[in-house]
């Protein structure tokens, strides 16, 4: 078999397989996202400036 048609077949197959695989990856990702529980997180107001420091348990360096 000549080189150019062989190369073009390899490139064609590799590209098509990659794209199909990527599409299936996306569908799998969407399926996982729909199943995953949604964690509640704090949301920031768009105009909010720097947060005030929040200390859950303040660390103090031992004197």
């Amino acid at each position: 078999m000549e080189l150019i048609p062989l190369l073009s077949t390899v490139i064609l197959v590799a590209t098509v397989v990659t794209i199909v695989f990527a599409v299936f990856s996306y569908l799998a990702y969407r399926a996982r996202e729909m199943k995953a529980p949604r964690a509640t997180t704090t949301t920031m107001d768009k105009d909010q400036i720097l947060l005030e420091p929040q200390f859950f348990k303040r660390y103090r360096h031992p004197e």
Partner: protein, 433 residues
Amino acid sequence: MYRIFIVMTFLSMGLGIAALFFNMYFNRLAMADYFVVFSSFILLLFLGIVTVRYGVLIWFAYLQHVEHMQEPPEAQDYPFVTLIVPAFNEGMGLEASLESLIAMDYPRYEIVVVDDGSSDDTYAQAIRLAGVYGGHRIRVITQPNGGKASALNNGIANARGELILCMDGDSRLEPQTLKQAVKHFNDPSVGAVAGNVKVVNRLNTLTKLQALEYIAGLSLVRTAHAFFRRVTVIPGPMGVFRKQVLEEVGGYYQDTYAEDCELTLRILFAGWKIKYESRAVAWTEAPENLQSFFKQRYRWSRGTLQAVIKHKHHLWKPFPHFADWIFVWLMVFESMVWPGMELFGIFFFVFVAGWVGLSTIIVIWWAQLTVLDIVASVFCIALEKEDLRLLPQAVFNRLFFNSYQNVIKFFASIDEIFGIKMGWGKLERFGRI
């Protein structure tokens, strides 16, 4: 309004392609010759744009490198720097990360670890390490889980330094990183410096491809942009900012999934210059499997698009910041137009090869792109004195890696346009740093 515009664009492209197919089907004998000429023209146009893009990037990256060689080798004075380490479930890699910060070759700095409500032993590890290395060097803050942006903002609010280094909790910095980054702040117009992020876990083909991408893709673009003092993305693992600049622009916002990109745009539009330092190195773990890789790149793509859309009003205002305007449009081109063009190119040449049997055209298309990738890779590997063994990965770039990413970018753009919800997720880490 922009969604209608984008949908109309895709619709008209689709109708145009359908009309072309319809016409070709009914006139296929007469169309064959016409199609050979037309597809050759499309190939030349596409490859011309690609070649010009690579040529421009390499040229300006080279000019930046020449200029960089003439700069002072390191900082002449040492402003106090706060290193902020936001950590969410980073128990596995936190010690290595903090060890690298303690080993920093810089006389005046502090480390602030912000535990973002971790469910593992991150907070306990941080407290232990603060005790090991001296509490005056490392301070630990903990907060209810609020996301990376809020953790960074908390760190900034508590920072004592004139300069602030923001990094990821799973990154490792090299000892010279801080000195190399700080020297750029001698220029009072510089508001921030982007660091050089490299992949540490080069274990399989996927991570080696990412390692090469970071060197020859992301770094090449940043180096070229740095010549104009307009880096458009300061990477999360390594960025140094004037505290004054962060306070002026309002710190990190949580309304996008690429808070680093969005912050960079705000700094640029506030009139500050942003430089890039190739010797300010941060090592990070890249995703080792396709699932993690997909999540990361999907988030990056959507986040970048969100950041651009958030600042879309700047797209139509070339003045007073004309140079920034150009670079934002370049960002739109690189993140949205370019992947679309590459995908279109793939489909077009696959169709041409299958329908008309012009198999040569697909080989020419692949060969030219691969040659350009190799040239860019050799240039960047030589510039950064990196591992030449990464070069063979450039052959696989166009066959698999690039196409895979372009499909991710395509779906991410569609999901963002139609407002489909997504979560942050947490990338799997193996503590390789």
